[in-house]
Amino acid sequence: MDVALASAIGVLTAAGVYLLLRSRSFDLILGLTLLSYATNLLIFASGRLRTEVVPVLRDGVAPTLAHHADPLPQALVLTAIVISFAMTAVAVTLAMRGRHDNRVDHVDGNEPAERDR
């Protein structure tokens, strides 16, 4: 399970960084989304991956961290999801407005000349 999660984070990050370096605003937003997925998985994993432990307090189980899943990363990841979702929405709005105003979706607001490509 560790290998699967680690490689999922790695692949998502690599794809996200690649897309972030491209010059179209749509690619940028897509890259940012992938990167935030990778981050969320990473934060989630920082509470350690364990199976067969209870998530909430239960009678008969000692109330220590050794017998429960760590609740803090779950709270952190929830906050991170909400914030990245909101920021993606702002970015999409801006990209659409920029596309409308500048007539291109290149991040610099104008199409590079043919010889520069």
């Binding site: 940012l32 990167l35 991040v107």
Partner: protein, 511 residues
């Protein structure tokens, strides 16, 4: 009441901002009234907080009365109280300037302004790393709104760069947070500081990587050398009151470096002590020199102002990277000075643009009232270059004086050389704008101008207020430097923070 003082600079602007959203449709006069009530209250709170912090105690406030190891805590020391007061004083001038009519152009301006203040104050007061991230996001979200409402074309483009850059930096921040929590098991700054020294050897490299990521994030917010390219264009295109407030946003990054790295990697941290600082000094020096060259190359006055923000960020990084409390103290004083003077320059740029129709310095144009804006520019230039007798001189002199013998060559060289660059750039821009007008063009000046409007007086009052802060900082330099000295001495003792955090217990709850 006084027990809850640390949370009020965050809660109060939030409440005022919420009220402002409710009264938004009832006219601009009511909105301005509510905003001013909010700012007056915030000023009283900041002064009270500063007086409380000046007693020397490190205040810990447990939000929701949860013990520090479970909940979020706020941390008040001399540095954070100082930052909150500087923010409030700057906000007074910005709101005064915006009241001249700029606030009509942007929907939700007043509410966003209050939320921005809430984010800034929260970032300065929090004692929890994840909470710092959240407040960063709050202040950034408000800044996107302030920067982009009513924008089109070019401003949208630079706004998109600014947004993307900051969201990417926030993602890096989250990665660093995940790693740090995985290694240390806590995100409370004081508790992290206590655990750094006891870390297992095999985790040390991972911790260094996470701290390095954190440093990159803070330097991106603080506009250190390779990470500043977005800044001059973005600030230059913001409306003046907003650009003046944004001057503080780079200070947040510098503050976060100082706060987190002095706590986590102070002298107690064993082998990791001083981590990151060795990188900051060369990067700060390079930033300062590049910013100096940038001022020389700037054709527009507002781009020049943007590079001056960078120059002050570089100076601050140098001041905080040098070891010892005395350089830190000089940096704390210089931080307030550069915030006020930099903001004043952005407001003067708006004045020049109105009276001359452009702020390009490479075209010759007549200008109305050039004595007025010229003398204001002259004063702010003296302060920004660091010539005597104004506060810039006091700050730079204190920093040069406090530099240890070993680093004198590089630090003195960089600061003096960049000051020279800025002197040349500001002198050249000023003489082209206000002074060296050919006779024929200067004559046009005498034509009857439009009668000065009332709005114009408020803009002027805001500039004079900011310059007045500079004068006051010069006159009261002794007590202020003593305070900064005490704040610096507080910062180099992380053990006191750990002790204060552990001593804080819930009042009404069994721990």
């Amino acid at each position: 009441m006084s027990a809850h003082l640390p949370v009020l600079p965050i809660a109060w602007p939030l409440a005022i901002g919420a009220i402002l959203l409710l009264v938004e449709r009832r006219g601009i006069a009511l909105q301005r009234g509510v905003a001013w009530i909010g700012l007056a209250g915030l000023l009283a709170l900041s002064v009270a907080l500063l007086r409380q912090a000046d007693a020397g105690e490190i205040g810990v406030y447990l939000l929701g009365d949860w013990p520090a190891r479970m909940g979020i805590s706020l941390l008040v020391d001399r540095l954070s109280a100082w930052m909150v007061l500087v923010t409030t004083l700057l906000a007074v001038a910005c709101l005064l300037h915006a009241g001249s009519g700029w606030d009509r152009r942007a929907p939700h301006f007043h509410a966003l302004f209050q939320f921005q203040l809430m984010g800034l104050n929260g970032a300065f007061l929090t004692g929890d790393l994840f909470n710092l991230f959240v407040f960063f996001e709050i202040l950034l979200a408000a800044s996107y709104g302030l920067l982009l409402s009513g924008a089109r074309g070019g401003r949208i483009r630079t706004g998109f760069h600014y947004l993307m850059f900051n969201v990417a930096a926030s993602t890096l921040f989250l990665i660093a947070l995940g790693l740090l929590y995985g290694i240390l098991g806590t995100l409370n700054l004081a508790e992290m500081a206590a655990r750094v020294s006891r870390i297992a050897p095999q985790d040390r490299v991972l911790l260094q990587a996470a701290a390095g990521l954190l440093l990159v994030v803070f330097c991106a917010k603080g506009a250190l050398l390779p990470l500043y390219l977005w800044l001059p264009a973005t600030y230059g295109r913001a409306q003046p009151a907003v650009a003046a407030l944004f001057v503080l946003m780079t200070k947040v990054g510098v503050y976060a470096v100082l706060r987190v790295f002095s706590l986590l990697f102070g002298t107690h941290a064993g082998e990791l002590a001083g981590m990151g600082v060795s990188w900051l000094l060369p990067a700060g020096i390079a930033t300062l020199l590049m910013a100096g060259l940038g001022t020389l190359a700037a054709v527009r006055l507002r781009i020049l102002a943007g590079y001056l923000v960078l120059a002050s960020a570089g100076t601050l990084f140098i001041a905080f990277a040098l070891p010892g409390a005395r350089t830190t103290a000089a940096g704390i004083y210089y931080l307030a000075h550069s915030a006020f003077a930099g903001a004043a320059l952005f407001l003067i740029v708006a004045l020049v643009r109105r009276q001359r129709s452009t702020d390009r310095t490479n075209v010759v144009l007549p200008m109305r009232d050039r004595w007025l804006s010229g003398s204001l520019y002259f004063i702010v230039a003296i302060a920004l270059i660091g010539l005597p007798p104004l506060s810039g001189f006091v700050g730079k002199f204190a920093l040069l004086d406090a530099t240890a013998q070993a680093q004198v060559g590089w630090v003195w060289g960089a600061i003096l050389l960049s000051s020279f660059f800025i002197l040349v750039a500001m002198g050249r821009a000023g003489s082209r704008l206000f002074w060296l007008l050919p006779e024929a063009v200067a004559q046009q000046d005498a034509r009857p101008a439009r009668p000065p409007q009332r709005v114009y007086r408020r803009e002027l009052a805001a500039i004079v207020l900011l310059l007045g802060y500079g004068f006051a900082m010069t006159i009261a330099a002794g007590p202020l430097l003593r305070y900064a000295q005490a704040a610096g001495a507080q910062l180099v003792e992380p053990a006191n923070y750990i002790h204060a955090m552990r001593a804080a217990t819930p009042r009404l709850r069994e721990p």
